[in-house]
């Protein structure tokens, strides 16, 4: 599991004396603890460090969230996938060179919310909506869903809160291993455990602190054996010499361990980032070459690979997955209508179908 490098724990005064906070502190014995009024005090300490992003991952802030559930904003001009996010934790102990949170979270420490009763109430209200199709909800947008789980036990809470909620799929998305807690409970049919994957050398070079590919796939296989269904995210797909063979090996490795029927979805997304991430990431990861590539500035202002290249990446990966009968589990993350249209046309062998719902909703 993840080796946490937390050097200080900061408690929001509002939750300092609560039972969940005390439980957390027991697991963090030995670390200095300070009670503060707001997160701003923590951010201030982080800002003074030479590498605020790196520093933010060493401070844990225990607090309560005002509200948890919101629709995933996607990216302007892109085709959304109807995802909802639960902002239970903020920030991530992993340090990926391409991670947009480096810029987005602005010195936010690793933040854990302990007011789970409020989340339960929000979830109850959310589930009462009874959608016509399927609604997907997950905790992996502003944090890794499982990275802090040994500390927080949030996965157990979420699985139990979402169990038997028809029409809703809870996704716990991670780059870590599988928390024991999830193997100690009965799996829920509507809980999908998913892993972001990349070739081993990309993980080694660009995804500092994360579990290696082997560990992630082992975790996924273990989850499947226990009865969970799983998902995979190839996001960001990186383009570099030899990328095709590397990704092909990853796809092979998946299906060597995991039956295709256990895979609910696979998302594809290529490297994209706001312009101000580039200088920050270049400074923080001087050995990384991912920013030394041909990019275009897309409509929403982000840098992306040019469309012909993105289509090639998606097309090749779709071909690889189709060989294992998983072509219909694919969707694109934060892509334009044009790319969706050309991509789906290809995987449906000539049938034009750029619209939703996703295959698993049909």
């Amino acid at each position: 599991m993840v080796e946490l490098k937390i050097k200080k724990v900061w408690l929001d005064r509002r939750v300092a004396g609560t039972a969940p906070t005390r439980l957390l502190l027991e697991k963090l014995e030995g670390r200095p603890v300070e009670i503060v009024e707001t997160a701003e005090t923590v951010r201030r300490a982080i800002r003074l460090a030479p590498d605020p992003v790196g520093e933010s991952k060493k401070h844990l802030f225990v607090t309560e969230q005002k509200s948890f559930i919101r629709p995933c904003p996607c990216s302007p001009g892109c085709v959304g996938c109807g995802y909802w996010t639960i902002d239970l934790d903020l920030n991530c102990p992993f340090d990926c060179s391409y991670c947009i949170l480096q810029k987005y979270l602005d010195c936010q420490p690793l933040t854990v919310a302990v007011n789970l009763e409020q989340l339960r109430a929000e979830l109850d209200e959310f589930f009462s909506r009874r959608p016509a199709g399927i609604m997907r909800v997950g905790t992996g947008e502003l944090a890794d869903s499982l990275a802090l789980d040994e500390l927080t036990g949030h996965s157990y809470f979420l699985v139990e809160s979402c169990r038997r909620r028809d029409g809703f799929l809870l996704e716990l998305k991670s780059k870590s291993g599988l928390p024991r807690a999830l193997l100690q409970i009965k799996p829920a049919g509507n809980v999908i455990l998913s892993w972001s994957l990349n070739p081993p050398q990309v993980i080694k070079g660009e995804e500092k602190g994360t579990a290696c590919l082997e560990e992630r796939l082992q975790a996924a296989a273990e989850a499947v054996r226990h009865g969970y269904r799983v998902g995979f995210h190839f996001d960001p797909i990186l383009h570099y010499p030899g990328w095709r063979q590397d990704y092909e090996r990853v796809v092979e490795s998946i299906f060597r361990r995991i039956p295709v029927d256990a895979v609910v979805w696979i998302s594809l997304g290529s490297l994209r980032f706001p312009p101000d991430l580039m200088p920050l990431a270049r400074r923080r990861f001087p050995d990384s070459r991912i920013y030394e590539h041909e990019f275009i500035r897309s409509g929403e202002g982000k840098y992306r690979y040019p469309r012909p290249l993105r289509l090639r990446l998606y097309g090749e990966l779709a071909g690889m997955f189709s060989e294992y009968g998983a072509g219909d589990r694919l969707y694109l993350c934060m892509e334009s209508v044009e790319v969706w249209r050309e991509f789906t046309e290809k995987i449906k062998r000539g049938r034009r179908n750029s619209a939703f719902p996703f295959p698993w909703q049909c």
Binding site: R44, R47, L48, A49, P50, D51, P52, C107, H239, D276, P279, R283, R289, Y291, E292, H293, E294, I296, R297, S298, G299, P306, R307, P308, L309, L311, R312, G315, S336, E338, E342
Partner: protein, 320 residues
């Protein structure tokens, strides 16, 4: 503070410890001083028994140029330490105008040397300078402040942003020296683009700027730019952009040639050069119905040619 007139010869103008502004006396100030002298007193402080200028460098420069012998001055008490005096210099200018990045870096350097605590510099001064209150920004400003004077001047004149300065610092001293004469001939936006593109290109292909500059097309364009040829800057920028964007450049070139081959009259073809939208936009131009009919007829006639097919193939190209 005490008001008095002070002789210019008494100033120790070599002592520039409080100076962080970079604008010279302009023609308007010179004209004003010539007509009516210096009206607004400069600020001075006595150090080692000689008056040192705190604020009013442009006024002193104008007075010297206009041959004035003395100036009105406000003298700060000698008991004030350098930090307290520099705060006067800083805030004396702060409300007047926005500082350039070079001036900001020099101000930060002064505060640092006058022993303002790093935490105060980060939390109090950087926000005043509209810079992110982070340690990294303090470090960047301190790095910028010790660049050669000519580099600071070009940053000041062309109003560089921190991101450009950061890339600039990433070049070796020899590369900066090589780039400098090119930058002198470019506008603010061109400077930014040249620095970004050279930086990116150099990282991508792993060769030094000097090596890059010896290559065929770039060498010729750099030579033209250094000779002051008009339009050379734009051509150089286009060439570096193309070198940085080989895939799109190749497709765009092929599309351009295909459009040319179609040889359409009265029809303008346009498309998104970033190729994000794989569509063509056709504009028909006609002054009268007869002309429109002819244009449409000729357009229809051309649809049978392979050119259109190739054009759409290029727009939908997938590849590396």
């Amino acid at each position: 503070m005490v008001y008095r007139n002070i002789k210019l010869v008494d100033f120790n103008l070599d002592d520039r410890r409080y100076r962080f502004t970079m604008n010279p006396a302009d023609r308007r100030l010179l004209r004003s001083v010539k007509e009516v002298g210096v009206l607004q007193p400069v600020v001075i402080v006595s150090r080692h028994s000689r008056p040192v200028l705190v604020d009013g460098w442009r006024r002193v420069e104008a007075a010297l140029t206009c041959g004035l012998e003395e100036l009105p001055a406000l003298e700060v008490a000698t008991t004030n330490d350098d930090l307290a005096v520099f705060l006067l210099a800083f805030f004396g200018n702060y409300g007047q105008r926005t500082f350039s990045l070079a001036e900001k870096s020099l101000a930060v350097r002064k505060f640092y040397e006058f022993r303002l605590q790093a935490v105060d510099l980060i939390e109090r001064i950087l926000p005043l300078l509209e810079l992110p209150p982070e340690r990294r920004m303090l470090d960047l400003m301190l790095e910028v402040s010790v660049l050669e004077k000519r580099f600071l001047e070009i940053m000041h004149r062309r109003d560089w942003k921190p991101v450009t300065a950061e890339l600039w610092l990433d070049f070796s001293p020899a590369e900066r020296t090589w780039l400098y004469p090119l930058l002198e001939r470019l506008t603010h936006n061109q400077q930014r683009e040249v620095i970004e593109n050279f930086h990116s290109l150099q990282k991508k292909i792993g060769r030094s700027l000097a090596e890059l500059a010896r290559e065929g097309e770039l060498a010729g364009l750099i030579d033209r730019l250094l000779k002051g040829e008009s339009g050379a800057a734009d051509c150089l920028l286009t060439a570096i952009r193309q070198a940085n964007s080989p895939l799109l450049s190749r497709i765009n070139k092929a599309i351009g040639e295909e459009i040319k081959r179609l040889n359409l009259r009265g029809v303008t073809l346009d498309y998104d050069r970033s190729l994000e939208k794989p569509t063509l936009c056709l504009t028909l131009e006609a002054g009268e119905l007869k002309e429109l009919r002819q244009t449409v007829k000729s357009l229809s006639g051309s649809l049978g040619s392979g050119g259109w097919h190739r054009l759409f193939e290029l727009l939908h190209y997938e590849g590396e």
